[in-house]
């Protein structure tokens, strides 16, 4: 059986950043397993700019951002295998993978970093009625066809979902000569960045219809028309509000789901809210030595935060195999998200194992204006941060200080909530 100190599952932005950080933290034996024929993951097809403002203080396109990390992987001679699918991860960190050259093989990993990313919600999961013709694509599949393979999925387009990928594809298809007729969004607000709404839709006069959904798809062979309708507060279509658009393509940008089949097979505990692993302050899952980062852990808004999080996961995996990740019997503090906050990553904190500063990431469940992010140590409010605006589409964070936590030796629960005052 092969043996590596750290095996990283996925060579996208999270996996690359974790690998680089683990090497910098002193671990020599690292292997990245990537199922595609190149490193870089989904960034390779995200050819638009806007990546890297936090990390590199400049605006890069997806492939450029990915390459910054790939270069480091090449320079540091970190090993990787392409076209390699991980088939199974066991609870004792035996990774089973497969490719054409090596066949099916097992690797005993000292530590595993889960960095598999996420996938798009398909049409079926949205319960959209109608025919099932060609011409219905998830936005990411269309993005791959257009940007990497160089094929146009269609000429006249309706988009359901105003997540950033949907907005970006509205502009992309327009620039390539397609007519994007409308973007419909089920929710009363868009999950996409304002900048994308302005520069991908407004710039090209593409209407955005909030509180709308697709109620019918026509066309036996290829999409011929799509009908959208307004939805009421119960998210159900309101009869009489139907509008029919003739088109040949329907793109769906209706949410991303962390891809955790492998985590599940390993027995990693998953959060019902994020669909990602439940992790502690070290980004370690319920299985010791198995870490998670990036979109497999929770769906991020900016790749910069993926890199930041993955760096921590890589460092901690490295500490784990070097046995410098403090072992501690101390009871962990529970993190609870409530009243507007949907979840937190991490979910527990063992103060013996935390760094001086710990970033806690979370998302809110609705749009909040002029509200406060409050952090309670048990019943005492410790932090009260005014925010002009918070929206579900954007990740929020608070930073906890080890110093401060040390003042509360009996602390059981840290609660994060959104308060009006």
């Amino acid at each position: 059986m092969l043996s590596y100190d750290i095996v990283i599952v996925g060579g996208g932005p999270a996996g690359l950043a974790a690998a680089v950080a683990a090497r910098e933290a002193g671990t020599e034996s690292i292997l990245i397993l990537e199922r595609d024929h190149e490193l870089g993951g989904i960034l390779n097809q995200c050819i638009h700019n806007g990546f890297g403002l936090h990390t590199f203080k400049e605006e890069l396109t997806g492939p450029e951002y990915a390459y910054r990390f790939m270069e480091q992987v090449f320079e540091k001679k970190i090993e990787y295998k392409l076209n390699t699918m991980v088939m199974d991860i066991s609870a004792d960190r035996v990774v089973t993978a497969m490719n054409k050259k090596d066949g099916m093989f097992e690797i005993q990993a000292g530590a595993v970093v889960l960095a598999m990313g996420c996938r798009e919600r398909p049409r079926g999961a949205l319960n959209i009625p109608g025919y099932r013709p060609a011409g219905i694509f998830s936005a990411g599949t269309a993005q791959r066809l257009v940007n990497i393979e160089g094929y146009m999925p269609g000429r006249e387009v309706v988009i359901l979902g105003s997540g950033d990928i949907g907005l970006i594809m509205a502009r992309r298809m327009t620039l390539e000569g397609a007519k994007v007729k409308v973007v419909a969004e089920l929710l009363p607000f868009s999950g996409g960045l304002k900048r994308n709404i302005v520069q991908c839709l407004d710039d090209f006069g593409i209407p955005l219809k909030l509180s709308h959904t697709v109620v019918d798809i026509e066309g036996k062979e290829r999409v011929s028309a799509v009908t959208i309708a307004e939805v009421g507060p119960d998210m159900k279509p309101i009869p009489g509000t139907e509008e029919r658009y003739t088109c040949d393509t329907l793109l769906l940008s209706c949410g991303l789901i962390p891809e955790n089949e492998l985590s599940k097979s390993a027995g990693v505990e998953l959060s019902p809210v994020t669909s990602g692993p439940v992790v502690n302050e070290s980004l370690e899952t319920s299985i010791p030595g198995v870490f998670a980062c990036g979109n497999v852990l929770h769906v991020h808004d900016l790749v910069d935060f993926v890199s930041e999080e993955a760096k921590k996961a890589g460092e901690n995996a490295s500490k784990y195999v070097q046995k410098t990740l403090a072992s501690s019997d101390k009871e962990s503090i529970k993190l609870v998200a409530t009243e507007g906050a949907r979840y937190t990553v991490p979910v527990t904190i063992n103060t013996d194992r935390m760094d001086d500063l710990l970033t806690v990431r979370f998302r809110v469940g609705a749009v909040f204006q002029d509200s406060y992010v409050s952090v309670y140590f048990d019943d005492e409010r410790i932090m009260h941060l005014k925010k002009r605006i918070m929206a579900p589409g954007e990740m929020e964070q608070v930073i906890l200080q080890k110093k401060k936590l040390a003042e509360y030796p009996d602390l059981k629960t840290i609660t994060i909530k959104i308060e009006k005052e």
Partner: protein, 485 residues
């Protein structure tokens, strides 16, 4: 040339008939308007092998159901397709309706269904712990089973092709008539075909062909059935096929594991006019979400659906299979009105229809008929050693293309290289399951397109989802803008 027999329709009945006829020294062909076998009613149904207690006593439906059920085990083995007798339960939720179970039991006995039992509440809940508490009794039929309708249809057609039957796809029979010498002339979009005998296995359109030649007309109503297919996560929610007590419109909304480990909920039963209207409706899906949860507790249908679809049952007014030679049209043999339990009955239907043809044609048996067919390998059932042997020989088996169902390039290539091989995304999907998982081909479709392009030489811009105009990506970016040097 003049065929001995032409079968209109490569659905499950047509393909079963073709396979049976391929045992004889006959020139047989199948005309199919779709681009592949299994393109109509056969592709969208409950995928259940019914035990046979439903159909009316003494009916042809009852006879062929029970026969088909009995034949299925051996057939699945010969054709190397998965089939499981998981057993069926008809559950009763009102004490006062328990009598209905006894009626079904009695009918089952009359129809020749074996090993049925009526279960009391305790036994029932031991068998299916996720049934809701109101389920107070059930009829248990251990001979009920689950099968993959695509694989059954495809395998029968493939085996027929191996044994010399011609298949013509994208070939739609339009009209037919019999000349003075008794030869049938079938006009199609691809020219005329001549034959001594015609089998009308045109599914939802079988009334159209029947009525062209017969005095006594039949009438087929497309009865739409919507289905929801749930994630494999829910596949173990029940182990048996759970039926409500039947009504006039059919067997009701069932909840069943599928042979591939998903959970299926359906069908609705909505009579429509349009023979092409396979669109699902919001009302239909909502109905399933409501009814599917009736007998099972906490089944999160809406949240766990990975796809929904609708099929059309070929419901003849008399609710009976119409099988036999039309007197006033010698050589024209009906195989019409094949609705549920059509899939189950198909092996027996094929045998019966072929029998009628043989009674007329009196052919010799072929000496070298081979009724066995090797299925596409399923590497996930192999040991690591076997798999590595395979990858060493055929490296394509080492490259996973469909991540959700873990389907390799090797399986996809096999699906294209065998007789009547796949030529479209749906063709690949139905043969290998690539694209049938929880991401519904979002990940693998560009990759499968690349393989289709490479293997079959079909330009990517021409690759279809399921033939005809169902092109996926109709043009290249930059086309005609100067950048295509």
């Amino acid at each position: 040339m003049t065929y001995d027999c032409i079968i209109i329709g490569a659905g499950v009945s047509g393909s079963a008939t073709a396979r049976e006829l391929s045992k004889y020294d006959l020139n047989v062909c199948v005309l199919e308007k779709g681009e592949d076998v299994c393109s109509g009613t056969s592709k969208a149904n409950s995928a259940i092998v019914h035990a046979g207690f439903d159909a009316a006593e003494g009916s042809l439906m009852a006879k062929l159901n029970v026969e088909g059920n009995e034949m299925m085990g051996q057939l699945a083995e010969d054709l190397d397709i998965p089939f499981k007798r998981n057993g069926s339960l008809v559950v009763c939720i009102h004490e006062e309706e328990k009598g209905g179970l006894q009626d079904l039991y009695d009918r089952g006995i009359a129809n020749g269904v074996k090993d049925m039992r009526i279960l009391d509440k305790k036994e029932l809940h031991e068998m299916e712990p996720n049934l809701s508490d109101q389920c107070c009794a059930a009829l248990y039929a251990p001979t009920g089973g689950i099968i993959c309708p695509f694989m059954l249809n495809i395998a029968m057609a493939e085996n027929a092709a191996m044994n010399g039957v011609d298949f013509f796809f994208n070939t739609e029979a339009e009209t037919l008539k019999r000349d003075e010498e008794g030869i049938w002339h079938i006009r199609t979009n691809n020219g005329e075909y001549k034959t001594k005998y015609v089998v009308n296995a045109a599914g939802i359109y079988s009334d159209v062909f029947h009525n062209m030649v017969a005095d006594k007309k039949i009438h087929i109503t497309p009865r739409r059935g919507d289905y929801c297919l749930l994630d494999k996560e829910m596949g173990g929610f029940v182990s048996k096929t759970i039926f409500p007590q039947p009504t006039k419109l059919g067997k009701g909304v069932l909840v069943s594991p599928t042979i591939h480990g998903n959970l299926i909920v359906g069908p609705t039963a909505i009579d429509i006019e349009d023979k092409e209207a396979t669109a699902t409706t919001a009302a239909g899906i909502n109905d399933l979400i409501a009814k599917g949860g009736m007998y099972v507790d906490n089944l999160p249908i809406a949240r766990k659906v990975i796809t929904s679809f609708a099929g059309l049952r070929a419901h003849e007014d008399a609710h009976e299979f119409v099988i036999g030679e039309v007197k006033e049209a010698p050589g024209f043999i009906d195989c019409a009105g094949i609705e549920s339990p059509g899939l189950t009955s198909s092996p027996a239907i094929g045998k019966m229809v072929a029998g009628i043809v043989c009674d007329l044609a009196k052919p010799e048996k072929k000496a070298n008929w081979n009724g066995k067919r090797k299925g596409i390998l399923n590497p996930s059932e192999m040991s690591v050693e076997e798999r590595n042997e395979l990858i060493k020989k055929e490296p394509a088996y080492g490259q996973i293309i469909c991540r959700c169902e873990s389907i390799s390039e090797g399986e996809i290539l096999d699906a294209m290289r065998r007789p009547l091989g796949a030529r479209s995304l749906d063709g690949v999907k139905r043969r290998t399951r690539a694209g049938m998982g929880r991401c519904q081909a979002g990940f693998c479709s560009p990759r499968v397109m690349e393989i289709i392009n490479r293997e079959l030489g079909i330009p990517t811009e021409k690759i279809t989802k399921s033939g005809g105009k169902s092109v996926i990506a109709p043009e290249r970016t930059k086309a005609g803008k100067g950048g295509e040097a």
